[in-house]
């Protein structure tokens, strides 16, 4: 069939016609011959049957009366039929009673055996058996043997004739199909030729010729129409192509133009942004300088005028100036947050300590307004949480500042508790609540208060001051920490802020932390000792040295294990503080080598690790170290560890105040003068500075304190002054306030030193 599919249409048509006509002719011929033969044979059979019947009928008497002669006479009548080869009559027992042979045959084959009535074909002969009935019995049978050879010869002859007719019919069909197929194949061939020509020469102007209105005619019409369309499209494309380059260059030019504009716009934007940054950076200075002048001179003026009305005006100028200053600082803060320039520094901190400090800062302010300041911190909050201390403090200070500002009577309460997280012992949710009994926030503006420059409805700026940025900053800070802040308030009754900081990591407990209470690093006075520090980072080494600055402990340092080992051998330090992660040979290996040497094996080694994992701790304890310290290293822990191996004595306790190193005797001699100065003139200055809250003033106060400290050789005072002027210079409001507020404590400490000395 595949071969037929690939034939040309011409041959397909011819084949179809020939096959169809051939099959028809063949079947017709065969059917005709078959029918002829059948009919002929039936005629012979009928003929023979009637002959046999006649013979039988005529031979009844002969049979019954055993009259063979009569029977033979009857059979002899068959001579008229030359095709009858043989005939006989059987008696009722099947024996041949009478027989007849065609004359020309010489040989006389034995008669066939008796069979049942009917006809039988056997070889070239047809046998016809006809029974002879009489009354109710069969008295004999007639048999006629018919010679078919003549008929077969005729059959072969007629088959020959038919074959001839079939061949002639085929030939005629061939001739007819050859000429008739052209009617269909020729237009298709023409179409094919045209299509080939079109595809070869790409000339779409050629058209196929149409000769008829039949399906092929329609096909040609369709083909021509398609060609016409392609031609028109081609023309159009050609036109476009000619036009395209022009367009491309046009567009490219446009694009270049747009690019240039974009670049210009970008530059403009960048320079605008730069300008904004520069503006913000310089604004602090540019605005603050004249502002400070305004505030400073209003102060001076204040002491010169006595007129009440003028004093009032002056007060207005001062308070407005102060508001403006705070506003500027807040804007700077907020813009830093908005620009995401704030980075959080997470480190293990003690939340209890933060809250205590907050209390220390605000208790004075609260008592000035006769407000109760209550702090309620759940004792089960771990002592070491991973938090950004600075920002947490800023949040609390902002909120408490607000609370104090808007509360005239009653209390301010700050409480904190933890919420455990299921299946997670390493984290907790920290919840801080700040309540006050202030003026409250009207229902409509509860959400607005967190928006920049929005203050509570009806808040009198004159009365309360503020920038309207504190809560905005607070909210952003909470969000940066991943937390939420919400507010509940009833107008006239109070406000409650809820802060949730979720998934706060719990830092691993310090080893022997239970000793914390019993051990106070401030009480320790180490005897002379040699300590070795092995750490590749200089600042780490410096920090440790700094902690021991006021002691008689001396140090040798090494940057790595390779350098450490010969030094250990040479100096034989009393104790080695060894970082675990060292370049090259790590802490474990170095310790192993030191401990492996009999000369140095007895020297205790303390490991320094970064924020230790439990596994690491165990490894350290199994590697021959005498102890370990987690970074960042805190003084108390360092001292506690070191105190295990170095002799020390304990100072007497000096109350709650921070420890101040023992002072040399010449310093002690001048200490009463210093305290006197501080308690009198400086105290007044401190009070006014704190009240006015001018940055420049605070900075200059810090500077004065530094000078004073240098004068009396009081390091604490120098540090205080340095811190304060630095914080004021950096506009670190919170820390600046905290530092500033520690001034009275500082005096107390110095006083206690003096008493101790006596």
């Amino acid at each position: 069939m595949g071969a037929f599919r690939d034939l040309s249409i011409k041959w397909k048509l011819k084949t179809i016609i020939m096959l169809t006509s051939g099959v028809t002719i063949l079947f017709a011929s065969v059917a005709f011959i078959f029918k002829d033969v059948t009919a002929f044979r039936k005629a012979i059979r009928d003929d023979l049957s009637s002959l046999a019947q006649v013979i039988g009928l005529n031979s009844k008497g002969a049979l019954v009366f055993l009259d063979q002669r009569t029977a033979e006479r009857n059979l002899a009548a068959l001579r008229a039929k030359p095709d009858i080869f043989f005939a006989c009559i059987y008696d009722m027992n099947g024996n041949v009673f009478a027989a007849y042979y065609r004359q020309e045959t010489d040989e006389k084959p034995p008669p066939p055996a008796l069979r049942k009535e009917g006809h039988y074909y056997e070889g070239n002969y047809l046998f016809m058996f006809q029974q002879i009935p009489l009354e109710n019995e069969i008295i004999g049978t007639v048999c006629i043997q018919y010679d078919l050879s003549r008929m077969n010869a005729e059959l072969i002859q007629s088959i020959g004739i038919f074959s001839g007719i079939v061949v002639i019919a085929f030939v005629i069909a061939w001739i007819l199909s050859s000429s008739l197929q052209r009617v269909i194949s020729e237009p298709i061939l023409n179409l094919t030729q045209t299509a080939k020509a079109v595809s070869k020469e790409k000339d779409f102007s050629v058209r196929a010729e149409k000769h008829s209105q039949d399906e092929i005619g329609i096909l040609i019409d369709g083909f021509n129409e398609m060609l016409a369309r392609i031609q028109s499209r081609d023309n159009l494309l050609k036109k476009y192509r000619e036009h395209l380059e022009e367009q491309v260059s046009l567009r490219t030019a446009e694009l270049h133009q747009a690019n240039r504009e974009l670049l210009a716009a970008k530059e403009t934007a960048e320079s605008a942004n730069r300008a904004k940054s520069e503006f913000l950076a310089s604004m602090s200075h540019e605005i603050r300088t004249p502002l400070n002048a305004v505030l400073g001179f209003s102060d001076l003026l204040n002491s010169l005028i006595t007129d009440k009305r003028q004093k009032n005006y002056l007060e207005s100028i001062r308070s407005s100036g102060k508001s403006l200053l705070t506003l500027i600082n807040s804007i700077l803060d907020l813009s830093k947050i908005e620009a995401r320039k704030i980075e959080l520094h997470f480190e293990p901190v003690d939340p209890h300590a933060i809250f205590n400090e907050i209390k220390r800062i605000f208790s004075l302010k609260a008592s000035e307004k006769n407000l109760d300041f209550i702090i309620d911190i759940a004792q089960d909050i771990p002592k070491r949480l991973i938090l950004d201390e600075l920002r947490l403090r800023q949040i609390l200070i902002n909120l408490i500042d607000n609370a104090i500002k808007f509360t005239e009577i009653g209390y301010i309460k700050i409480s904190a508790e933890k919420e455990d997280i299921e299946n997670d012992t390493d984290h907790l949710n920290l919840m801080i609540v700040l309540e006050d009994t202030g003026i409250g926030i009207p229902a409509g503006s509860r959400e607005e208060i967190f928006e920049a420059f929005k203050q509570g409805y009806g808040q009198s700026t004159k009365r309360y001051g503020g920038t309207g940025l504190g809560l905005t900053i607070t909210k952003r800070l909470v969000e940066i920490m991943g937390g939420f802040i919400s507010v509940q308030s009833e107008e006239g009754k109070g406000t409650r802020f809820d802060i949730i900081i979720p998934r706060v990591s719990i830092a691993p407990d310090e080893v022997q932390s239970e000793k914390d209470d019993a051990f106070d690093s401030e009480d320790i006075i180490f005897e002379k000792a040699l300590v070795m520090i092995v750490d590749d980072i200089e600042s780490n080494r410096e920090l440790i040295k700094e902690y021991f600055r006021q002691t008689d402990v001396t140090f040798i340092e090494a940057e790595d294990g390779e350098k450490a080992i010969p030094l250990v051998k040479q100096y034989k330090p009393d104790i080695i503080l060894m970082d675990i992660r060292l370049p090259g040979m790590d802490g474990y290996k170095t310790a192993k080598l030191i401990l492996g040497d009999t000369e140095t094996a007895a020297i205790p080694i303390i490991a320094l690790t970064a924020f230790g994992m439990k596994e690491e701790r165990e490894k350290i304890m199994h590697s021959g170290f005498q102890g370990f310290l987690s970074k960042p290293i805190q003084q108390s822990e360092l001292f506690r560890e070191v105190a295990r191996f170095i002799k020390y004595s304990k100072k007497e306790k000096i109350g709650k105040a921070e420890a101040i190193e023992r002072l040399p005797s010449e310093v002690m001699e001048r200490l009463p003068d210093a305290i006197g100065a501080l308690e009198n003139e400086v105290m007044e200055l401190w009070k006014s500075t704190r009240k006015n809250h001018f940055f420049d003033e605070i900075a200059s106060f810090g500077h004065q304190m530094k000078l004073l400290g240098e004068k009396y050789s009081l390091d604490v005072l120098i540090k205080f002054g340095d811190d304060l002027s630095n914080q004021a210079g950096q506009f670190d409001v919170e820390n600046m306030n905290i530092t500033l507020d520690t001034f009275p404590e500082l005096i107390e400490k110095l006083k206690s030193l003096l008493q101790e000395d006596r």
Partner: protein
């Protein structure tokens, strides 16, 4: 063939018997057949022929008005002619055959076939006159019987049993004889006069 043998009916039996007898007569015992002595076999063949004659003879309708049987009467001194009794109760064309032996004084009016098993020409002549104008098929076995006015007469030819027919006598008796019968018969002319 065995089946057909077993189920063989009386008519066939007669036919077979007749044929076998004839065959024997013709082939095996020519001397015996040649003799004037009438054997049992010969009579059996004759009995079969008589039975077959009845098949090829058509009686006028009046012949069976009184009774619907074919009455076969025979007059014979020969004990072998008793073989005719074999035909008793055979049926031809729905009619039963009854065989009766003729005794002097018997009513012959009921006879449809009369067989003269005797050569007594005087008796034959007397009876033929008696049967005149009656539809009785007369059968004899004496030379000249047909010429005397009998309808069918047996004779032997080359050891074969044959018969001759007086067609005129048959016509007079109102009997139609089938061409089948006539084809195998010798036709005799003449009457008693």
């Amino acid at each position: 063939m065995k089946d057909s043998l077993r189920k063989i009916n009386p008519c066939r039996k007669i036919g077979r018997l007749a044929f076998v007898t004839a065959w024997c007569l013709m082939m095996l015992c020519p001397p015996f057949a040649r003799t004037e002595t009438l054997s049992g076999l010969e009579y059996q063949v004759k009995s079969g022929f008589i039975y077959n004659f009845a098949k090829f003879v058509e009686w006028p309708k009046t012949a069976f008005e009184k009774s619907d049987t074919i009455s076969l009467c025979f007059a014979s001194d020969n004990p072998f002619s008793e073989a005719l009794y074999e035909l008793n109760d055979k049926i031809i064309s729905g009619r039963k055959i009854t065989v009766k032996k003729y005794e002097e004084g018997n009513d012959i009016n009921t006879c449809n076939i009369f067989f003269f098993g005797t050569a007594d020409k005087e008796f034959i002549q007397q009876k033929l006159i008696e049967f005149e104008n009656r539809s009785i098929l007369t059968v004899g076995e004496t030379e000249g019987f047909a010429q005397m006015g009998g309808i069918i007469n047996f004779f032997m030819e080359k050891n074969r049993l044959r018969f001759e027919v007086n067609v005129e006598a048959a016509r007079k008796a109102g009997l139609k004889l089938s061409s089948q019968l006539l084809m195998s018969a010798e036709i005799v002319k003449g009457g008693q006069e």
